[in-house]
Symmetry: D2
Amino acid sequence: MIRVTLWYEYAQELGEVRREFVPGMDDETYAGFAEFMKSRAEKIRQVYPKGLMGTLAEALSKDPELEITMTNIFEPEYGLPDELLEKTDVLVWWSHVLQETIPDSLAMKIVQRVQKGMGFVPLHSAHKSKPFMYLLGTSGCLKWREDDFCRVWTAMPSHPIAQGIPEYIELEEEEMYGEPFDIPRPDDNIFISWYRGGELFRSGCTWTRGYGRIFYFQPGHETSPNYHNEYIQKIIDQGIHWTAPRVWRKDFDCPNIVDAPEKR
Amino acid sequence: MIRVTLWYEYAQELGEVRREFVPGMDDETYAGFAEFMKSRAEKIRQVYPKGLMGTLAEALSKDPELEITMTNIFEPEYGLPDELLEKTDVLVWWSHVLQETIPDSLAMKIVQRVQKGMGFVPLHSAHKSKPFMYLLGTSGCLKWREDDFCRVWTAMPSHPIAQGIPEYIELEEEEMYGEPFDIPRPDDNIFISWYRGGELFRSGCTWTRGYGRIFYFQPGHETSPNYHNEYIQKIIDQGIHWTAPRVWRKDFDCPNIVDAPEKR
Amino acid sequence: MIRVTLWYEYAQELGEVRREFVPGMDDETYAGFAEFMKSRAEKIRQVYPKGLMGTLAEALSKDPELEITMTNIFEPEYGLPDELLEKTDVLVWWSHVLQETIPDSLAMKIVQRVQKGMGFVPLHSAHKSKPFMYLLGTSGCLKWREDDFCRVWTAMPSHPIAQGIPEYIELEEEEMYGEPFDIPRPDDNIFISWYRGGELFRSGCTWTRGYGRIFYFQPGHETSPNYHNEYIQKIIDQGIHWTAPRVWRKDFDCPNIVDAPEKR
Amino acid sequence: MIRVTLWYEYAQELGEVRREFVPGMDDETYAGFAEFMKSRAEKIRQVYPKGLMGTLAEALSKDPELEITMTNIFEPEYGLPDELLEKTDVLVWWSHVLQETIPDSLAMKIVQRVQKGMGFVPLHSAHKSKPFMYLLGTSGCLKWREDDFCRVWTAMPSHPIAQGIPEYIELEEEEMYGEPFDIPRPDDNIFISWYRGGELFRSGCTWTRGYGRIFYFQPGHETSPNYHNEYIQKIIDQGIHWTAPRVWRKDFDCPNIVDAPEKR
């Protein structure tokens, strides 16, 4: 049984952002932002009547090996109190406009939990989330544009995450993310996406950090219906299985080996 | 001074293939093949009046640090006798329909010269050449289609091979090469190409084998004018500089260290 | 069920080498060589009454998920006819003095089977075997010395191949293999060995070639008793599981995609 | 000209630690710590009359291509004000007992400067420094023991950082650092160290983060005389040249590409 925590910003769906989530924003900007979030929520409801993560959770819950907990930034301790984090085998993470709201201290707890063995599956705009940037050590910068036709190519068909996936998946509408994508050399670059507007993007990549594995996957714009797509669901499901921990690191000690092996 | 050998199949330009180059081909197939080669030569002459490699050589010869020797499969010993190979710092290699004509023994000499330090820059259809496949250990398989619009994206702008290259280069016509491309994990994936027909391709990649460095670069279809393109020329020039040997391995001994360091 | 083929040179145990296996050797050298092989066989019998591979096979056969076939170079077609190769999921390979006896054509068949998905576990002196060198594209050169104390360190404790293995394994006697080891950048460097004589060696490494996975593991000198060691057995067993194919490539076609995805 | 900043903790040499540097330490612990630092300073003066970094700086200043600035944690803004950081091409960093004193905000500035192109050469105990951990995304954990004989092996003789370095360097005394070393897969693992006590360590490794290059090198225990060693000096000098920036990233924007390339 893999204990999966789906963490979601949720502000998009709720159509509101708590004033204290964006303390640095002036009142006028906040007003416009709140307005934008409201209109966004309406769109999302049309595309995802059960919610963005609700739809993904429903799909993943068909896999009997996964035990799914949903949480979001509106819950206490930004939705990820220690008790929950410590019971999480794989953290699936969708964040966007509130990336900066997550305190560094929480981001660092996630980083350390990954280093101890937890799987991490950052989705879509989580390329600029603190846990993503702090684990990879890069900025996650990229180009973007709303609403383009996207064709996700399987560049590495033998990878466990790509099993059962066709040579390409067509997504009628997805946010364009374009190269250069500021990431360190991936362990494996499994998927690369083609956009009709002329760009391309390394959209499915893995890395290892300590005992933990990371799988980033690009599709998941909040107003595009791609979490309804069975192949996208399957890739995320397989990403969860692939990043699931086999063994945990207990601590971050640097032990002083007073008795050298050669003298024992 | 970098001693560059431009090795080229040449049959395309010459418009003929020696009968003994394709011993396994039956007479009828050979007749059709010869016909095809003739018509191809006419097209090439229109696009490259100075020849495919002639054009590239002319461009590279503007770089005062390069000393260029051109050779081809019609020369003695398939154009690469030991004396020439042993004076080559970087081997630029364009091959296509006669990949199988190169004897294994010559391919293995090239492989070993790379392992000793020689730079290797296989271009375009050399993805199925013996030196490429024997160095990488994979099949080099890919998809293809003649004549598509191609946009070469710079995915790794900080790499020495990408200096001075814009975010993308547009090629009005190039052969489409598509993923999955059967290569081992690259050291660096510097360029990725987008094709209007819907495919994409990791078109500029590096690997290290022994003391030698390899840079594969996709553009270079014989009837597309891309070796006239200044950026394509610049990338190949920078690829030559980047793969140029810094130090040579002398032999492939496995020495028996009778006196252990700890007992000396 | 994983169909494992244990391929073994066997000349060492048998104490003889067929004259035709070493056609390039002059008679005098052959006489000395034959003498050496005889004396070697006596030593091996003392250390491995059931044989070098016999001992390993016995250990591996305790794993109910493995179906083991033993074969060797004295069998028809050098022990690896097409029918057997095509039924092999993971090929475990121990070779040494007869590496050159294996024809290139057989080595290339093995290479292609790996590219199609077969796991490959070259052991010990197989670092100079043709399948190893042709898959990795490097010479496999290293330093060596007979009979040293060896401590195998687990550098990557979270890797599936290292599960249940302690921080180090002590081998009272093993052949020393020393750096530099001429291999391409490994996917993972799981084990590194320390020798009392003063050297060290990247002794457990993985690579991917096409659909296939490779795990090289150093211990296994024919007169050292290390295939009796439970941890060494466990590592090889886990290496077999880890390299076992998940999916097979059917052919090495480069399809011409006449109908572009954008026009379908 | 490469503008090199040698940043050094300095407390070890000075023999004192400002009380405010270790706010979390209780008075009794601080007293013992201060005592230890004093005695350490005496030892260092014997080994390095010109100081630990003073010795290294003197050696590096023989290279006419380097322009060296020394600084330390006792200077304003922990020795690295923005004006200095922004004029730094390569940051050489030695830190140890005061790693936690460096504020996260400064560590993040260093991280971002590396991502923009600055070279970073963390030495010895900097494996637990914040810039090291935040760039690599791992804990940097390892084993250690004071004062062991160390033999640094060159595992990758063709790398620019290893030019002119013999197959191994013997250091009569160095702190032992042992595997497992919690680092992500290195781009290149150039040096591996053997310790007489029985351990080994990947002591010279490189990574890329954004536009910046990183070279970690292990030797440099404050009471061992290894910065007097010409080969160690040469390796660090070559590490500086190798990490020196070729091109700088200007910002960390994620531009919205409203006009798709295909519509321009």
